[in-house]
Symmetry: D2
Subunit: 479 residues, 4 copies
Amino acid sequence: MILMISYREPLLGKTDEMILKYISSIKDDTAIVHEVLEVLMAHVQHLMHKNIIPQNIGKKITEILLELYKDPSPLFSMSVEDVHEAIELYIERKIGKDAGWLAIAKSRNDHVVAALRLKVKRLLVKLIDELLKFRALLLQKANQHLETLMPAFTHLQPAQVSTYAHYLTYVEEILATYTKLLLFITKEVIDKSPLGASAATTTTVPIDRYELAYETGFKDLVVNSIVATGSRDFLAIASAISTCLAVFISRIAEDMIIFSTPQFNYLNPDSRHLATSSVMPHKKNLVTMEIARAWGGEAIGHLTALLSILKALPSGYNLDLQEATKHCIRVLQETINTLTIVKDFIEKLEPNTQSMKRDVELYPITSTELIETISLRLCKPYREVHRKLALVIRSSKSFKDALDKVFSELGVYFLELKPPIEPKNSIYAKNHPGSPHPLSVKNYITKAEKRIRDEYIELDVMKKNSKNPILCQKNESVI
Amino acid sequence: MILMISYREPLLGKTDEMILKYISSIKDDTAIVHEVLEVLMAHVQHLMHKNIIPQNIGKKITEILLELYKDPSPLFSMSVEDVHEAIELYIERKIGKDAGWLAIAKSRNDHVVAALRLKVKRLLVKLIDELLKFRALLLQKANQHLETLMPAFTHLQPAQVSTYAHYLTYVEEILATYTKLLLFITKEVIDKSPLGASAATTTTVPIDRYELAYETGFKDLVVNSIVATGSRDFLAIASAISTCLAVFISRIAEDMIIFSTPQFNYLNPDSRHLATSSVMPHKKNLVTMEIARAWGGEAIGHLTALLSILKALPSGYNLDLQEATKHCIRVLQETINTLTIVKDFIEKLEPNTQSMKRDVELYPITSTELIETISLRLCKPYREVHRKLALVIRSSKSFKDALDKVFSELGVYFLELKPPIEPKNSIYAKNHPGSPHPLSVKNYITKAEKRIRDEYIELDVMKKNSKNPILCQKNESVI
Amino acid sequence: MILMISYREPLLGKTDEMILKYISSIKDDTAIVHEVLEVLMAHVQHLMHKNIIPQNIGKKITEILLELYKDPSPLFSMSVEDVHEAIELYIERKIGKDAGWLAIAKSRNDHVVAALRLKVKRLLVKLIDELLKFRALLLQKANQHLETLMPAFTHLQPAQVSTYAHYLTYVEEILATYTKLLLFITKEVIDKSPLGASAATTTTVPIDRYELAYETGFKDLVVNSIVATGSRDFLAIASAISTCLAVFISRIAEDMIIFSTPQFNYLNPDSRHLATSSVMPHKKNLVTMEIARAWGGEAIGHLTALLSILKALPSGYNLDLQEATKHCIRVLQETINTLTIVKDFIEKLEPNTQSMKRDVELYPITSTELIETISLRLCKPYREVHRKLALVIRSSKSFKDALDKVFSELGVYFLELKPPIEPKNSIYAKNHPGSPHPLSVKNYITKAEKRIRDEYIELDVMKKNSKNPILCQKNESVI
Amino acid sequence: MILMISYREPLLGKTDEMILKYISSIKDDTAIVHEVLEVLMAHVQHLMHKNIIPQNIGKKITEILLELYKDPSPLFSMSVEDVHEAIELYIERKIGKDAGWLAIAKSRNDHVVAALRLKVKRLLVKLIDELLKFRALLLQKANQHLETLMPAFTHLQPAQVSTYAHYLTYVEEILATYTKLLLFITKEVIDKSPLGASAATTTTVPIDRYELAYETGFKDLVVNSIVATGSRDFLAIASAISTCLAVFISRIAEDMIIFSTPQFNYLNPDSRHLATSSVMPHKKNLVTMEIARAWGGEAIGHLTALLSILKALPSGYNLDLQEATKHCIRVLQETINTLTIVKDFIEKLEPNTQSMKRDVELYPITSTELIETISLRLCKPYREVHRKLALVIRSSKSFKDALDKVFSELGVYFLELKPPIEPKNSIYAKNHPGSPHPLSVKNYITKAEKRIRDEYIELDVMKKNSKNPILCQKNESVI
């Protein structure tokens, strides 16, 4: 029985441990071992179905692949280039040279990328799932705070009157864009089989690439075999959009951190999300939000790593591509984790409505409403009134003082004009889609809930499709 | 007549030149001035239509905006924060304080982003147009080289037999993915109006945000007013995907550079794409491809800049966002330029078929075909044959020599097995979708041409929609 | 007279305008044209001095170079690859084919990089100069605020009692590290002449590379001619450190923005640094600090661009290197601008001492001091006291309340222990180097002022050395 | 005995596992656990020495710290925020609440960064060590190949005649710059103690920060306590320069890959550095160089991550800083690994001198030498001769043919001029420092060897200093 002969040995001789350690991906392969095994099972089934390999050998190999699927740990104590070599050697150790049938009509180049596409598809499905849950929560919370006044900020200075519901639906609308885009990418970019491309130019063996694709759980085919094996554009695209999402989440984390300073005091975060100091017992630090904020920066770094690896790389498979994988998986996995955490943070959070209200009342943030009213009622150009008010504010001690001056100067009375300068009036005076007006927000929520329901249906189809047919037969759950 | 009073002056007093220079975006605003003016025209029309501003004033303002549209140069000699302030002051200089009506029911926050969305839409339309043209060219060239043999490379080493047509359709298939994705993004992410969001929370003025959107040339609305003014996720998304595309193009540029070394000598580039040395008159340098390769790296940098600006930025408009704009516009514009150049390079290029053929014959790159044949015909596991051949190659002087040894060891004759080890036979023996088999490639080309035709139709609709309705009325072409 | 024959024409024929526009660096060359001319003057002088070119021709060429030095504008209306070609053609237009002597014993490869090294050296000298001025200002301001109490923050939560002087010297100490490092890099990495390396392997012409280096204003030589022409590590290093500095400055800008919110209200920024809204006349936005904050992100992007261009680039000059230049120059120039602005911001700033004091008194930020006192006086392990106090704070309404409970539980009296829990006492109880204790800070200031004086002397030597000897002879100022 | 009470529990109550997993650094802390323990030992010794804690307790704690130093594994099975909490709880489990003395006069904020500075110092020492060894090897190899002709490339096209020694010393000279810079950074930026800064403002406990620094193995002090705890500029600086180095190495890896294509065939890499295909037994792939090339891109990504985390982070410690650590350690560790591999690659490499020679003879790469000779001997401007030769080359079939035409046109004979156009003559005709002339290279090698010896001495001092004094006493080796 020929055992433990590495791919390299017959042609190139003994392996050097230092070098193997440098080039081996075995440590990173733990993340995709299940997908690698599923792809191999589909491959073997297809070869049996097409009578390319002996049925009894195909069965034996499949059994071992299933065993490894349940417990892949034996693979990770071997000195090998990657999990593909480990699996082949493991099977050979069990059944001898019949294991060598596994290698026909495939290469690592197409199998690596098939497993990777399956893995990325599943991570995207999870990410989309988290997005949908988070959005549903945001809408539900918004519903409870339609009239909870809060300043809208520009330049981190109180700008206008808004509501907590308006803030929450702001977050939801952006997440909705990412959901839609990620659904599209999953379907149109990721969910394609590279199998049968073999090393670079397909194979002389009479397989059927489309059948093999469907049997592995893919919806479509990467056609050209150089694309199939040598392109990682799908990885770049999935990582790029997830990174944009992570960067957006970092902005929300920053909001949470600033709003939770004692100076702002807008939020009462759940104590589970806080940590304290090892020496200062009064400290309540928003550590989860800090990690979520940092993750925005880290995601940028992983995307940069992935793109810089690809930049100017000669076409076709190069081992550089192996190093790209981990950056994409990390971006997806950690963005999922971060969404889960931020969702939990907001779910458990109680806004401190008194402090928010204090600030909408304290600062002159309804000046625009005042100018609009004067401009329209007295038919004076907006800019003219704006300049006058600016000058008056400059020389006044308070907004109240400024108001008095403006009205007296204009010769009109506040009661005549009824400008919506009380915070609550201000939001009710803006009856536009997308405004903080409670009915506008309510209306938005209704439509958004409908969208989420539709997207859940779409996602469920995807989830079903991404199950491995062979494992399903055998009643194994995959995701 | 009140003239040249900056936004800041009434409240904050005189402007400091050093500081104005540091914060002003006026230099970068040249790129979007036409879009800014179009948005303002639509705004004024809407205000007139809704009887919010006096008709005669609206007309006067519109006339001046049209003048500036034809020649915006007067705006760029003014000391201002940005083009918005410049336009307002310019109009005021012309018609006095009636110009102040322009400022109602808007703010820079929503108008900046509206112009930016229009600009990005148009750049994406151009980018997609270039992609479609490039893809059509690649297919046409591929059609001429279905049987032009060429090695497929992995690890920059000759791997298997392929054709120039196979290489060209590899490029096309990846560009097709980017086309589809960019069409989706243009429609679903970019083409939405933020107008009416005003500073942060919409306005008390009775405009109609949907009507205004359509009149400005947008298909849909960014609903939430904080999203509309404070999010640049659309910029990040457009830049991210375009950067992935630029990185892919850098790989093709690298191929061209390596294939054009005298050692490879696969290509005869058109001399327009070459430059020589200022001192070495024998040098023929592939300078356009070097710039295209470098651009891949630069695009990564601009994307990183944009994302790092956004990272952890508090929600709502901050002036940081102003600095993000230029990076997106640069990514889109220069990726368009690079596509045009690389398309021209490949269009004018003559492959040196003799050198390509030399290499498919020189190296033992049909060993996989040999192993597949032996394995299937003699019913021996692939790996077993693979190892044997590897050992034989290791101890042989040439592939010919190795073949002799293998056949004699197996006790079979070459003529019996007829393995497809002649390069031409090799490609004909791989009758799979995506293989270099001339019929497979031909078949792909037919389908791909159909896709391009469909996408041209889709793009034409987009082009029509992105024209500004007011300018169309006035018979001005926009794009 | 042979006129306007480009480098490419004799070998490669006519120029294509689209392609020339794509590859030409002429627009970016405005930034280094003076350095290019200086290098050429030194080159010509050296050739004359070594009797390699005729004296009268050398003189004529030098005169034209000096003319161009005074007004380089004619160079930028020419259709050329770069400023080097423009200069040569310009001189040829003036004096005919004698201009062709300029080209001997040089190439663009060594002259491009020589000009670039001069430019980078000068930008670094300016950057160091700004750092020294900023540091001097910080120390002077700190001296005025040795006892101005202010919270030290961790996790953006008030952590312990500090002073405004302590904050200012924090900034100074970090800037001191960058100063020292940049001085070293300027001297040991940048200030080396690549001249004489010519295209890649020096020249057969009997020049003296060391003499030429000194005559051009360099202190030392890049020895190996491939390093001299094909390496941009010096650009990467200068950009990398300047980017780290820009990122640090972005943290200070963020502090300024947060401290200037009305909720914190720690700072009264000079109104020159504020802008207002075009529609909300109450807004006072910290726009300079926002641009400074954004610059941190942009610098990361430019560094990434530069490094990604270099990544995996084959050795020797490639045109990719041309594209790297602009990113380094932008990083240096804009970091200088940003330092100037932030320095001005802090110089004109008045801290709002009342708000700072309010916060050190409002929050229980001397709990560590209390635990330390109890632990040492009662000889109880720190952690035990820490836990007890944490539990007590958890169940107390105020720090005062917690104090009462702790003392009563421990059976000791406040007066006995005299823990330094009054904010002012707290800082006086920490008599360590680097603490906010006024004497510690004062002591630091004295030493730091001495360092600045020493570094000014070092910088002055550098400034003198970076003047071009020829221009000095001719009484032209260079920097 | 109070056991396993986390820092958070007394103030904030129970820990949530999901959240702990999200914020905990315990997995990454394996990389710095020894440094953390050393810092704690020095801390305890200092407290004993200053009679701040009871001697017997100090001794007991030190014993346990030493145990953990030998086997830290028990720390990594605990559910904790980080290794600091794990150590404290571990000691408490062993000796009860006396363990609580460990916590006095310190915080995690200063101890985290002290361990990190020690770790970074040691990694830099290793990196410098590798650089010195690599440089010594390059010089030694160069010595053997002073006359091994090889083309120098620009634009990846053969440009001029060079030697393998010239190429090797090119690599050495750049590595020498990095060595010098990293030595400076290690001494002047990294090797400073933050200890005693405690949480943010030092402590009321009477320690001596300078003594403590020396006892921990630091050469100097980070003075300001906010710098000490809240700055990661030292991490950014060390990572930035190491990334520039990694990017340079990626260029050398790219050279190796291109030079090892069969088309170039310049190199015979040692088979240990090759891998083959799992299906194509003829493939010899340069996998180590591909990983080294990819690492250049990955390093850019890790640097970007680190800098983006820091960008706009409020001053003082934030948990974001915890996430920065891993990126720096990864950059340093993997750059060390990559240097080791590339050094081994070049050490075991045999250049294929025949192929290199073939190429210097095949292409007209001595045209510059020809022009220089004609220009000087016939006193004709360089450009004039250059243009003539370019035109002639354009219309000639070979360089030989071009030469004949040029000489006949000029009316001179080759034998009269003796231009150094034989490759070997070409290098001997360039007697400048930094040229490929064997004596120039030899001369460089002598000086460079001297520099390496001096730097080894400097490094040895550093190595000695970075040993932990306490462990030295106890005869434990640290590095």
